[in-house]
Symmetry: C2
Subunit: 279 residues, 2 copies
């Protein structure tokens, strides 16, 4: 392995793979000229695409396989069968030390299951989590889990808190990120047993973290805390609800702004500002 960072890519995972994947590598290559990519997938489909993206071609090494995981595969089936799927081989590349990270836009459940078995989790962490950072009224926050684990006990939530804190310090650059557990109220007696027990553990632990307590759904947009901890069922639905609400508002706003000549002129004048806001 050279000094350059190598990222293993599942070339066949996700909607519009492999063309979307190759096009994505082209974009990534522009902003990360030092990164090398190991691209796993069907070379009969990938090689012609690379011809169209010379920037991607220059930093890509392809590895041929015809097997791939579909979105309908059960995670357990993807794990036990398909030992030569593009997803499996990309994950193996990290285990073998050929790559330092792996990216797949494919079946999330399969990715989590295979990665957990092949790469293992860190000591003290029993389940992986899906995390994402997003803008709020007061800076960026990170939320996890967003769907890897539909059912979580208190220990899972405590471990997500620890992982989220590390992410917020390293990726968001925060010195002492605050952590909240997503709940249906901020009072101690609200919620299910998992969130209540997790809050108790975090409150009474000697972990060097700043535990804020419970937060509610509207605290996500407010940015009340830097790290929002939740189970994968609730987190996935909260994230998609937020996306759906934003789309609905854009829909109504567009409707309102084209409802009269005056509004249209107004929208035209305000357009550069609105475009900046959307970006």
């Amino acid at each position: 392995m050279s000094d350059r960072i190598t990222v293993a890519i599942d070339g066949m995972g996700g909607d519009n793979a492999p063309s979307m994947i190759v096009s994505g590598i082209g974009i990534a290559a522009k902003s990360n000229p030092d990164v090398k990519f190991l691209l796993f997938g069907d070379e009969r489909r990938i090689l012609p695409l690379l011809e169209r993206y010379p920037m991607a071609k220059a930093v890509c090494e392809t590895r041929h396989t015809t097997d791939f995981v579909t979105n309908d595969d059960k995670p357990t089936a993807a794990l036990r069968g398909a030992k030569n799927s593009s997803m499996r081989l990309a994950i193996n590349a990290v285990a073998d030390g050929e790559a330092t990270a792996v990216v797949s836009a494919g079946n999330t459940g399969a990715l989590m299951a295979i990665a957990t078995i092949v790469l293992k989790t860190l000591p003290g962490i029993s389940r992986p989590a899906i995390a994402s950072s997003f803008p709020t009224q007061s800076g960026d926050s990170v939320m996890l889990d967003l769907g890897a684990n539909v059912e979580c006990d208190a220990n899972n939530l405590v471990q997500f808190a620890v992982m989220g804190e590390v992410y917020a310090r390293n990726e968001l650059g925060l010195k002492q990120p605050s952590i909240g557990i997503l709940n249906v109220g901020v009072e101690g007696l609200k919620g299910n047993d998992s969130v209540k027990e997790a809050a108790n553990i975090l409150k009474n632990s000697n972990l060097p973290i700043e535990f804020f307590g419970f937060v509610e759904g509207d605290d996500i947009g407010k940015g009340t805390v830097d790290v929002i901890v939740t189970d994968g069922f609730t987190g996935n639905i909260a994230l998609k609800t937020a996306e759906g609400t934003a789309k609905m508002i854009a829909f109504f706003l567009k409707d309102a702004l084209t409802s009269s000549i005056l509004a249209k002129i107004g929208a035209l004048l305000a357009r550069p500002a609105i475009e900046r806001f959307r970006a």
Copy 2:
């Protein structure tokens, strides 16, 4: 009981009670001149307020009690103690046939617990649910449960589906409302056991309802279905996440629209349209 509808009101429940409650009765009296109100609470505080709202006074009968349920009371404590709380007496008024409905802005858990014991649920319905209707890209939808039951089994969800369907037909005026269960994916293998089992029951039942299947968080804003069924934990967080997202977008949009002279002029011209959209 006269021919007029009588609504029992918990005068001491909610933030800024009783003044907000009395002011609310004044507003309700204007648009519902045929409704009579039975107002339960501390007359030393309520009677002076009614002097300030003569429209409310004209349609209100007060019942004095000094006991009330606070937001910090556990539902079980509110149920067993405080037999003369304003909330309890308002609910009793429905049980006694003095009123046809009861309204409280107070402790939701206590309201649900007391109402369930005093008024019981309909035959075949084991738990009450909190429902709310809201605008979507394609008409109004109703979602339940929004927080009455933090943990729900498949039967609870099936019962919520039936109640939501009745609500959508009667309150939203829909002839054949479609029903979806909120989940982390639309495929049958996604989600926890409760949603999977509830979907199976609804799919194979002979109920005269239109079961759509699973919907995701972003389907709420799209209006994919008319009735969204979920447990109270997820529903409460989804609802508040949507509210928080809307507020965050308004915050960023205001920022963008005041970022330059041109944007300010544009915002001014588009203002009537935007105001209509917000209403």
